[in-house]
């Protein structure tokens, strides 16, 4: 069984940066485990500004990170899914190339990022139709499959739309209507001609096979909106699956692992960082967090 001083689960921005900083601080034996065939996580398709202090897209930032990562010569296992951490600090992993393996670590950092928030089962009854997608899936349909989404698109929620804005614009996608439950201001070019339902909530999805219309409601009235595609833009949640399978306490608010002021989870020697704990507003916040964590880990080292 391979044995490392530090294993980082997740090779996105937080994971790569944690590896680079820890190496700089003198931790030599480091492994990064990444589920996708390439490093970068959400940065790979990030064609929008992810900083608050400067203007830099995820893709641009990934280029810089890759250079530093290669210079630091850090061990990586790509195309490998970390499933859980057992009581002996062994990480169960699976990959098409290496099969199932256990990797032992003195210290583990969970940096597995976030995932999109789903539809609330109670507040979203109706028919079980096709044509309802998350923003992430919609982006893949447009940019990877190079297919169109539909002719009458309704957006439900207005969070994290920057990730899909440029793809939608280049594909000429137009949004018919926006259901904006939070009633907060937003600007989104593909929706500039859309009817906006501020303060309305979605109460029913209807269709046979494909979605044909939705019903929305505010305090006063309910309305029916015809559509063939419904996009969920509800923002992100921390992905707590690995932590959950590893008997680490989760925070129900963030759905990520609960951490103390040293970023340690409810299990000794297991830490978490980045969007895997909770969704951060910008890359700047994550960089600050990684710096603190790297200091803590190198002092313990």
């Amino acid at each position: 069984m391979s044995n490392y001083e530090l294993v980082i689960i997740g090779g996105g921005a937080s994971g790569m940066l944690t590896a680079i900083r820890c190496k700089q601080q003198g931790i030599n034996s480091i492994l990064v485990i990444e589920k996708d065939p390439v490093l970068g996580g959400a940065l790979v398709s990030g064609d929008y500004n992810i900083f608050s202090s400067i203007n830099k897209t995820g893709k641009e930032y990934l280029k810089e990170l890759k250079v530093q990562f290669e210079q630091a010569s850090i061990n990586t296992l790509v195309n490998t899914m970390a499933i859980s951490i057992n009581d002996n600090m062994e990480i169960l992993c699976t990959s098409p190339e290496n099969g199932v393996q256990m990797i032992k670590a003195d210290t583990i950092v969970i940096a597995n990022g976030g995932k999109e928030k789903g539809r609330n089962a109670v507040n979203m009854p109706g028919d079980r139709v096709s044509g309802t997608y998350s923003i992430g899936t919609a982006k893949k349909i447009l940019s990877d499959a190079k297919l169109s989404l539909g002719n009458h698109i309704v957006l439900y929620g207005v969070q994290h739309l920057d990730s899909i804005a440029s793809v939608m614009e280049s594909c000429g996608v137009k949004i018919d209507a926006v259901i904006n439950p939070q009633n907060k201001a937003f600007s989104f070019a593909p929706a500039k001609d859309a009817t906006v339902y501020n303060g309305y909530d979605l109460i029913q999805i209807t269709g046979e096979g494909r979605i044909t219309h939705i019903t929305v409601k505010d305090d006063i009235e309910s309305k029916t909106i015809p559509c063939d595609t419904l996009l969920f833009a509800h923002g992100w949640l921390a992905d707590g699956l690995v932590a959950m399978r590893s008997n680490i306490n989760l925070n129900p608010e963030t759905t990520g692992p609960d951490v103390d002021q040293h970023f340690m989870t409810s299990r000794d020697h297991i830490y978490a960082v980045g969007n895997g704990i909770c969704i951060h507003n910008s890359m700047d916040e994550i960089i600050d967090e990684v710096d603190v964590l790297a200091n803590i880990l190198s002092l313990n080292h």
């Binding site: 098409p96 109670v122 028919d127």
Partner: protein, 478 residues
């Protein structure tokens, strides 16, 4: 010429096909939808009922007792999950306690084994999550649970391996009696098939099929039942299927673990007109949640994965109608197969086999294979088994559905098995991919890409379920 045409690929049609595939017969199953288990069989409680509340002398009582007993062997042969988890019926007042006594006496008369009345303390010792408001419970040890579509798929796969032909997207639009005593079955208003025996197992549409031959039969009066499915954290808090005292419409709202480890609450009951209306309704669901809380307090809304509804193919007759057509020998109608139809599927199949024997000589087939092996569920294997499998098929090492840990290898298998999946929902029912915590939000796209590749069709032609339900995008015209 087919010996037998079975109309309907639900659990009843598939159980009959599997039973008859033991014999030297040419059998075709015609299914209007794109897969087996797409109607009544897909969305129900999944309970293998003990049968304590059936009327003495009814077909339901007889077939339930026999069907329930057949499940242990059937589950071994066809390698599907069956748990005899036992049931409890709760009484909250003296009137209901009296009703439990009557149910027990009725059950004893029917020959149901092991029924006993439990005090509140005894019941809560067995099932600590039960409400403090109960005063007694009827203990029903022979009650069990299955996944109804897993069962139907298992029956269909085994029938197919034994030579049964399955035709999907094949809606029967006419049945005509010929002078020589055989029948023409018209499919999609175009293709005509020819058979000696026609078995009408068309569920919600069995009345329509019967009407093609002109013999008046009972009308199907669809009745909707809605459910809530909770996540596995909740599923771990209960072992028995817990009913409230039955009403005329339902066997009582139940709270049950599923064989997959989730928790299910439902069904309510509502008469409807449209046989395709499976929409869920927020008002009814919230009422259901309150009823569920009555049996088992502490079912948090945040733990709900999804809601769904299923239809009961009821008639004005309380019992199953399983009869040869009065004017057409060799045509067997199965009408009003509502609950406990799932329990009775194997016993109904035997019952229908005996009826078929009156029209056709049945000769056993030596080549009949009684067993079927389930799909390899990657997570259920040991590390050694996983490694051996990945070495042979590297796709088993690629996890696609992160919530349920379903590998690419399983999705490929679901497509290429006998009676394989052709849609996203077909893969979902065979593998559980897209059925986890995120309900497909994360994996719909990668799962769809794999299915389209394996079916060798363009992604835009892949359906979620039926025609027009394009799962992923459209090709731009022009």
């Amino acid at each position: 010429m087919q010996d037998i045409i079975i109309i309907g690929g639900g659990v009843i049609g598939c159980a009959i096909a599997r039973e008859l595939s033991r014999y030297k017969l040419a059998i075709t199953v015609l299914e209007a939808k794109e897969d087996v288990a797409c109607g009544v069989s897909k969305a129900n409680s999944g309970i293998i009922h003990a049968g304590y509340n059936e009327s003495e002398g009814s077909l339901k009582a007889k077939l339930d007792l026999l069907g329930n007993e057949m499940y242990d062997t059937l589950a071994k042969e066809l390698d599907f999950t069956f748990k005899r988890n036992g049931a409890m019926i709760l009484a909250f007042n003296n009137e209901e306690k009296e009703k439990l006594q009557q149910l027990m006496e009725n059950g004893n008369r029917l020959g149901i084994k092991g029924l006993s009345l439990l005090s509140k303390e005894e019941a809560k010792k067995e099932e600590p999550g039960l409400s403090d408001d109960i005063i007694a419970a009827l203990n029903v040890p022979t009650s069990g649970i299955v996944n109804p579509y897993e069962l139907t798929i298992a029956l269909a796969e085994n029938a197919a391996v034994n030579g049964t032909t399955f035709m999907f997207n094949s809606k029967v639009t006419g049945v005509v009696a010929l002078d020589d005593g055989t029948y023409e079955v018209c499919v999609n208003d175009s293709t005509v098939l020819h058979a000696k025996v026609v078995i009408n197992a068309a569920g919600l549409y069995s009345d329509k099929i019967a009407s093609f031959l002109g013999t008046p039969k009972n009308t199907i009066l669809p009745n909707k039942g809605q459910y809530f499915l909770f996540n596995k954290t909740l599923g771990a808090k209960i072992t028995h299927t817990v009913f409230q005292v039955p009403t005329k419409e339902t066997k009582g709202i139940l709270v049950t673990p599923t064989v997959d480890g989730n928790l299910l609450v439902g069904p309510d009951s509502c008469n409807i007109e449209d046989k395709e209306d499976v929409m869920t309704n927020k008002h009814a669901l919230l009422k259901l949640l309150t009823t569920g809380h009555k049996s088992m307090p502490g079912l948090p809304e945040s733990a709900i994965l999804t809601s769904f509804s299923g239809l009961r193919p009821k008639t004005d007759n309380d019992d199953f109608i399983i009869e040869e057509d009065a004017c057409h020998k060799g045509v067997i109608h199965l009408i009003g197969i509502d609950s406990p139809g799932l329990t009775c599927a194997p016993s109904i199949a035997l019952y229908v086999k005996d009826m078929v024997e009156e029209s056709l000589p049945l000769q056993k087939k030596e080549s009949f294979i009684a067993t079927r092996t389930r799909m390899k569920a990657f997570t259920a294997l040991s590390s050694e088994e996983k490694n051996a499998l990945i070495k042979e098929h590297p796709a088993y090492g690629k996890i696609v559905c992160k919530c349920e840990l379903i590998s690419e290898g399983e999705i490929i298998d679901a497509v290429h098995r006998p009676v394989g999946a052709t849609t996203v929902d077909g893969v979902k029912r065979r593998t559980r991919a897209t059925l986890g915590g995120c309900q497909g939000l994360g994996c719909l796209y990668p799962v769809s890409k794999i299915i389209a590749r394996e079916l060798n069709i363009p992604l835009e032609l892949l359906m979620k379920n039926g025609e027009g339900s394009n799962a992923i995008g459209f090709k731009e015209e022009n």
